[in-house]
Symmetry: C2
Subunit: 204 residues, 2 copies
DNA sequence: AGAAACATACCAACCAGTTGGTATGTAGTC
DNA sequence: GACTACATACCAACTGGTTGGTATGTTTCT
């Protein structure tokens, strides 16, 4: 009974509810009442933990970053000794997540920033930080792969890391538009092929 | 006085207003009153032309497709005799549009489908049609470029056309998150490089 | 006891959509 | 060509329900 296995308080229940409800309905269309109902808490609890709906939005993005960050940190692709294989492993891992309902595999941050980039600067900043820091985990491996091959191309590791995020976010939009993951998966395949070409061509 | 130069009725004023307001605030956060104010018409006029807010959403997507369709149809890249150059010209043209404020160069369809894919099936369908038909205009050139080189790769022209749209939509999300077009432009550069590698490699 | 964590009751502003009406056609009929 | 019948385009005021947020409790933990 040392470390409580899980004593979900209202705050984390609300954040978990936000992750799924917001991804389904979007941020603006999600009401505070709805969030409370989904979390099984009252409105009093909501405004005890968050001073406004926007504050919950910021916290939800941070919560998302932590939750998904753990998933990626524990993913098996890190074990590869070759940094390029780690990058390709990351992309393959992202592709393997494209199953089940569209709501479940799409990204909270991409959804929220679309709606809030102009009207809620704090949410925009949180989303930027989330995307950029996640891309940052890729950048080191990309850089290592470049160095290993003695490459000095006209693109940067940063831009390639961000490009992977752009492809994934765009793939989610395709999935939402088409109501399925097929086109999204093929887009991720193109990303894999691009990275292989990029590094394969330099080998010669 | 044969063809009226421009007699903007309430309907088209509302559709034009929707294109800019929705891209700024998102679909859900945009109110009917706001739209009416931006268009300079009354609420009565709104519900005379559209039976609901959702119906306006569908019409706005279709209006967007027509408006942007004209822009691309008249763009100069179509003149190139080489189909591959037309594809690359399209991507370069898309990159050249990444100027000014984020609101002005981002895509109405990508914004709307994120919010409405689950709650408004009619809007989702309209967005799918818009993206797919726009991708379709690229597909023919991609196919022609493949044939010209006698390529039979493990990817299809359709998937590459949709991939270009995914990259562009993802680039818009980057732009919104970062508050500027720089990262988006670099992502489009990566797309150009990918297409060049894809077709350049087959040349040999 | 005192503070943090929650619950209940409530409110003012706002929202999509409705109502009843006016102004301007336009097609048909005698 | 004028009168009726009907349709389209638009408007201002209103409505019932919803929204984010607050005020004021009660319970729980230390």
């Amino acid at each position: 009974m040392s470390t409580h296995p899980a004593k979900p308080d209202a705050r984390s229940k609300l954040l978990d509810a936000a992750m799924s409800v917001v991804r389904t309905k979007g941020y603006s269309a999600t009401t505070v009442d709805e969030l409370c109902a989904a979390a099984g808490v009252t409105k009093g609890a909501f405004f005890h933990h968050f001073k406004s709906k926007e504050a919950l939005g910021v916290a939800a993005v941070e919560h998302w970053s932590e939750t998904t960050g753990t998933v990626f940190a524990n993913a098996p692709y890190h074990d590869h000794p070759d940094p390029l294989q780690r990058v390709l492993g990351y992309v393959a891992f992202r592709k393997s997540l494209l199953t089940g309902s569209v709501t479940d595999f799409t990204c909270l941050v991409g959804t929220m920033v679309q709606e809030a980039y102009d009207s809620a600067p704090a949410i925009r900043a949180a989303c930027d930080k989330s995307i950029s820091s996640h891309a940052g985990t890729l950048e080191a491996d990309i850089e290592a792969a470049m160095e290993e091959r003695g490459m000095s191309p006209d693109w940067t590791a940063t831009s390639l890391a961000l490009h992977t995020q752009a492809v994934l976010q765009g793939a989610f939009i395709l999935a939402k538009a088409k109501g399925g993951a097929e086109a999204a998966a093929e887009s991720v395949d193109h990303l894999t092929r691009y990275i292989e070409l990029l590094f394969g061509a330099a080998r010669h």
